[in-house]
């Protein structure tokens, strides 16, 4: 049995009366490409936030790279890199400065840092733009930079929350080629969410489907299709989660963006 780099047991998160994540358990093997799928508002991001120490669980346990994100937050934080669903770059800094900032926060020694930044920026084809301000970047360039940044400190796990959202097929393919290469060559565990089912089917070795805060199916793409008697993962997904459209409340952040946009 492969060693599990992520172990989640009976994880629950409540916001007041609302239970966003209900008693979920799952594990991800080291070096695996794992897709975490679910409709909007199913609890994906909440789960990722708990795994990555941004949110405290109501109950249950998590082990991440051998550390508990609640009790040994900093040790757990060292073991992963993350690309958030929303941008998280400092737009008033250059690409190089965003990378430097991250390297210093993660205590990557100066020489290693310089070399690694150059290597990663070349890899995501942003090296010639390293001194441009991030605010001048396109959505795809920002995503690529965030991925480079998330990998700077050699994490064992990379979390990607809808990394390909809003990207054109060229950039999407480029990103996945890159991530699969990293996964195969460096053995980095890839944990991602996406709404593109073909992407999940192609990339992931293991899939978990979450809906209404509960995990309703797990297995490989093939297994999920077999379980539901469908031809494509998209059909399997719809069969598992129903075809009703989900409401996702505009959170305060979304409202604030609108507010800022008006000024």
């Amino acid at each position: 049995m492969a060693h599990n780099i992520i172990e989640v047991k009976n994880l629950t998160k409540k916001f007041g009366d609302f239970t966003a994540v209900k008693d979920i358990s799952f594990s991800v093997a080291s070096g695996e490409r794992f897709a975490f799928l679910g409709p909007n508002g199913a609890g994906k991001s909440t789960t990722i936030k708990m795994l990555t120490t941004l949110l405290l669980p109501t109950s249950g346990s998590i082990m991440l790279g051998g550390h508990d994100p609640v009790r040994e937050a900093d040790a757990a934080r060292k073991s992963f890199g993350i690309v958030f669903q929303d941008p998280s770059l400092d737009e008033d800094l250059t690409a190089q400065e965003n990378m430097e900032f991250h390297g210093v926060l993660y205590s990557v020694p100066r020489d290693t840092r310089r070399a690694r930044i150059e290597e990663l920026l070349n890899f995501v084809e942003l090296y010639d733009r390293k001194d441009s301000f991030v605010r001048d970047f396109s959505g795809g360039m920002k995503r690529r930079l965030e991925i480079a940044r998330g990998l700077l400190h050699h994490p064992k796990i990379i979390f990607l929350d809808e990394p390909t959202l809003g990207l054109d097929p060229q950039t999407r393919n480029h990103l996945w080629q890159y991530l699969e290469k990293l996964n195969e060559e460096e053995g980095i565990t890839v944990f991602f969410t996406t709404h593109y089912m073909d992407e999940a089917d192609r990339v992931a070795q293991h899939i978990a489907v979450i809906d209404h805060g509960q995990i309703i199916a797990t297995g490989s793409g093939e297994e999920l299709k077999k379980q539901t008697g469908t031809q494509t993962l998209e059909d399997a997904f719809l069969k598992l989660t129903g075809s009703e459209i989900r409401e996702e409340g505009a959170d305060s952040l979304a409202r604030m963006r609108m507010f800022r946009g008006r000024r």
Partner: protein
């Protein structure tokens, strides 16, 4: 330690690049200096209080510092909005180092701003009592900047978005400024106002600035420093506490 430095450096870089912010934040002190300074100058002198520009200049420096540093502390809210806060929150760094670096950065920026305002007051006709004592006055600026950056961070940690910004400006920053002795001598005001000023940390900041710049003081430098230290420690502690509790 590196985390404190990089958080500090980020504030400095952002400030030095934002020319509109620098120019914009100089307009308000300039307006106060010109309108109050020249507008009330004659009345102030007739009342036997001396040169109003000299009295006012340290107060306006204090004003620019409190506005800049509280605003800087509240940048946490923008960072939350633009997502950058998450990048710092998943980093394997103690929360207190992040908070401390940001606070020092905000204080440094506010001090730079205070120095620019100081130069402006000199151009308008302010005469400091000694050029040498400008050095300790700059240290006092840094002190005031740290105190209010920490306060700004504390407030920002408790807010989810910028909707409450006006509330903070009108119910916290404005009273702190207007009720301190920045604009008028505290020796001649009604007892009630004297009491309010006595619990306003900015009163002590401005008083310490006046001690070094025009050799005048209401509370005495010793008490100024004690009160400023006390408030700074309390706000740093509370700021770190609330900042460490942020979840996104």
């Amino acid at each position: 330690m590196n985390a404190v430095y990089i958080m500090w450096l980020r504030e400095i870089k952002r400030f030095s690049r934002s020319k509109s912010r620098i120019v914009g934040s100089l307009m308000q002190p300039l307006l106060f200096l010109v309108s109050f300074g020249f507008g009330f100058g004659a009345v102030f002198a007739a009342a036997g209080q001396g040169n109003y520009i000299n009295f006012l200049a340290p107060g306006i420096i204090g004003m620019s510092i409190i506005f800049t540093s509280i605003f800087n502390g509240m940048q946490v809210i923008w960072d939350r909005q633009f997502g950058f806060l998450k990048e710092t929150l998943v980093a394997p760094v103690p929360r207190i180092a992040i908070m401390f670096g940001r606070t020092l950065g905000g204080a440094t920026v506010a001090t730079l701003q205070g120095c620019i305002v100081l130069v402006m007051t000199l151009l308008i006709g302010f005469h400091p009592v000694s050029w040498l004592l400008i050095a300790p006055a700059i240290l006092i600026m840094l002190f005031i900047g740290t105190l209010f950056s920490a306060l700004g961070m504390m407030v920002a940690s408790l807010m989810r978005d910028m909707q409450g910004f006006q509330l903070v400006m009108n119910f916290l920053v404005m009273p702190l400024f207007f009720l301190s002795g920045a604009l008028f001598p505290l020796s001649a005001v009604p007892e009630a106002l004297k009491l309010v000023a006595a619990i306003d940390p900015l009163s002590y900041g401005v008083d310490a600035l006046r001690y070094f710049l025009i050799n005048a003081t209401t509370y005495g430098l010793g008490l100024d420093l004690i009160v400023l230290s006390g408030f700074t420690l309390v706000f740093l502690a509370l700021g770190s506490y609330f900042f460490s509790r942020i979840q996104v």
